[in-house]
């Protein structure tokens, strides 16, 4: 199994379960299909809402794809078509993440999975021992607010997954210190970072996305690239997400230092954009500034032990 990063995929939660996207183009022409957010089903989860704003869109969390449905239905569907799948996993505690990943690993069609993306922007639940009828978990904040928690979460995922499986960590605009969080994620074993320019908006769990946030994404990509050049973060490939809505913005993200892009709200307006971007990015030669074009570099010898 190769750990080569796909040039373009859908952003988490913007590709449905894959079947919806199959109506608009040939999925096998893509480098990978993004399934997500994969999690434990929660019937009480509030409905997803989209609120259009000028040049943007405010969205609440996308509906969860229950891990059971992914294992029994979606992965076999993708595997039968020879598609490569990246599963984006969303979990509130380390235990829940371990549970989801173990279930995924036991799936017969896990061979179709070429990568796992861990969502560090997800809300973290603090757990404590049960005392009487008191609730045993509280929502504290996002994972990415606490680099130490990110390190634990990503390290757990790394431990449970095959060594050669691509592990991505997604962090975004909610992050108080992106460099520290990125360093923790890479230290925990992430082999690529997904940098999201989504800006917290309107209320808890809601984010502003769309062309309006493109400069936020570019700024984040540049900041992480500079930190890598200064040696504060090990060199790993970057994926830009947020504000990528046409070929020009995808190329701008490439110039800023991202190896590949994810498309979110751009797909909601025109799903065929995914195939057009795939075409554009495969014709552009790899950026010479990128030190490791094949994505095979082992950052800081972390796999050596």
């Amino acid at each position: 199994m190769s750990a080569v990063l796909p040039r373009v995929t859908a952003a988490t939660g913007c590709a449905g379960s894959g079947r919806e996207l199959a109506r608009f183009g040939e999925l096998s022409a893509l480098d990978a299909v993004q399934l997500g957010p994969v999690g434990l089903s929660d019937p009480a989860a509030p409905r997803t809402r989209l609120i259009p704003s000028s040049s943007g869109l405010v969205h609440s969390p996308a509906p969860i794809l229950p891990v059971q449905q992914v294992i029994t239905d979606l992965l076999p569907w993708c595997a039968a078509r020879g598609l490569r799948v990246i599963c984006a996993v969303r979990a509130g505690t380390v235990g829940v993440l371990a549970d989801i990943l173990q279930q995924l690993r036991r799936a017969l069609d896990f061979t179709a999975v070429i990568g796992i993306e861990i969502d560090l922007a997800a809300v973290r639940q603090q757990t404590r021992p049960a005392i009487g009828t008191l609730p045993t978990s509280d929502s504290v904040s996002s994972w990415s607010a606490d680099p130490q928690a990110c390190l634990k979460l990503v390290a757990e995922a790394r431990e449970l997954l095959p060594r050669d499986l691509l592990l991505l960590a997604k962090l975004g605009g909610e992050c108080p210190d992106p460099v520290a969080t990125a360093r923790a994620a890479v230290g925990g074993g992430a082999r690529a970072l997904v940098l999201s320019g989504a800006v917290p908006a309107l209320g808890p769990g809601s984010y502003l996305v769309g062309p309006a946030v493109a400069p936020v994404t570019l700024g984040l990509v540049r900041a992480i690239r500079e930190a890598m050049a200064a040696g504060r973060i090990p060199q790993v490939p970057l994926v830009a997400v947020g504000g990528v809505h046409d070929a020009a913005s995808a190329l701008a993200a490439r110039r800023a230092g991202a190896r590949s892009v994810q498309v979110g709200s751009g797909l909601l307006g025109d799903p065929e954009l995914l195939w057009r971007l795939q075409q554009t990015l495969s014709t552009v030669t790899t950026d010479s500034a990128d030190p490791d074009p094949a994505g095979t570099h082992d950052p800081g010898g972390l796999d050596a032990h």
Partner: protein, 259 residues
């Protein structure tokens, strides 16, 4: 299912005329692979780069002439950004599953509200062609919102005008005289929920729209999940995605009280 079936195509707007409070657009596109049905919808590329989502419009008519192309009609809310005659428009569709027409001629009642009345009128024409006696109930607070009644009266056996509050009562009294076998709801979600309750009360079959087209925050491509509805009874706990599996569904499948 896995063969790509929806492609965005460019059509030419041939007419843009006012119909009451709405506007009716006619767009000529390359010949469609099959016949369109009432209840299907179109996705039109957003009018300005400021808008992220595509516009979703009810299809209110289709006519295919060999060698010329297909003419699609839509009735939409009045908007300054609508294209004029001669302009190009990028469209995806027709999308989704439309209304089914009964195989034997049985009395039918079509309930409608707003711009979806264009689709209701088309459905009434299809029902009449199948030999079904049709009654149309139109709910509106402003007389301008009752769409093109002359054309509807040509096909329907009866047209009943009412408002949102009086809808349930007038439909009940109409049902007593007409004894419908099927109710159709062509309109927003509140109308579908009311028709679901009425159909349960009268013990008849109903087909309803489960997607609020034209409302902001609907992607229409089946990708976002904002339109998901909870399923009822033995399917409780799972959800249906109207832009993929609908937009027309049997009303008793949806748990309306949980929406």
């Amino acid at each position: 299912m896995s063969a790509p079936s929806l492609r965005r195509r460019t059509g030419e707007v041939v007419a843009n005329r006012p119909v009451g409070a709405y506007r009716q657009l006619s767009v000529v596109v390359p010949t469609l692979p099959g016949r369109a049905r009432p209840g299907q919808f179109l996705l039109a590329a957003s009018a300005s780069p400021d808008e992220v989502l595509a516009r979703t419009w009810w299809l209110s008519g289709e006519q295919t002439e060999p060698g010329f192309g297909s003419t699609l009609e839509v009735v939409v809310a009045d908007d300054v950004l609508l294209p004029g005659p001669g302009e190009q428009l990028a469209l995806t569709g027709p999308v989704g599953r439309g209304f089914g027409v009964p195989t034997s001629p049985v009395p039918a009642v079509v309930l409608t509200q707003g711009a979806a009345a264009g689709a209701a009128r088309w459905l009434a024409e299809r029902l009449q062609a199948a030999g079904c006696p049709v009654h149309l109930v139109s709910a509106a607070s402003d007389p301008e919102e009752h769409l093109d009644l002359v054309r509807v009266r040509r096909v329907a056996d009866g047209v009943l005008l009412t408002d949102r509050e009086g809808l349930a009562a007038s439909t009940r009294s109409l049902a007593q005289s007409v004894q419908p076998a099927v109710l159709y709801a062509v309109g927003p979600l509140w109308l579908s929920a009311q028709v679901a309750a009425l159909a349960g009360e009268l013990g008849v079959v109903s087909q309803v729209m489960t997607l609020e087209l034209g409302a902001p925050g609907i992607c229409g491509h089946g990708l976002c999940g904002a339109c998901d509805l909870p399923l009822a009874a033995d399917r409780a706990g799972s959800r249906v995605r109207p832009c993929l599996e609908g937009p027309v569904l049997r009303a008793d499948l949806v748990a309306w009280e949980a929406c």
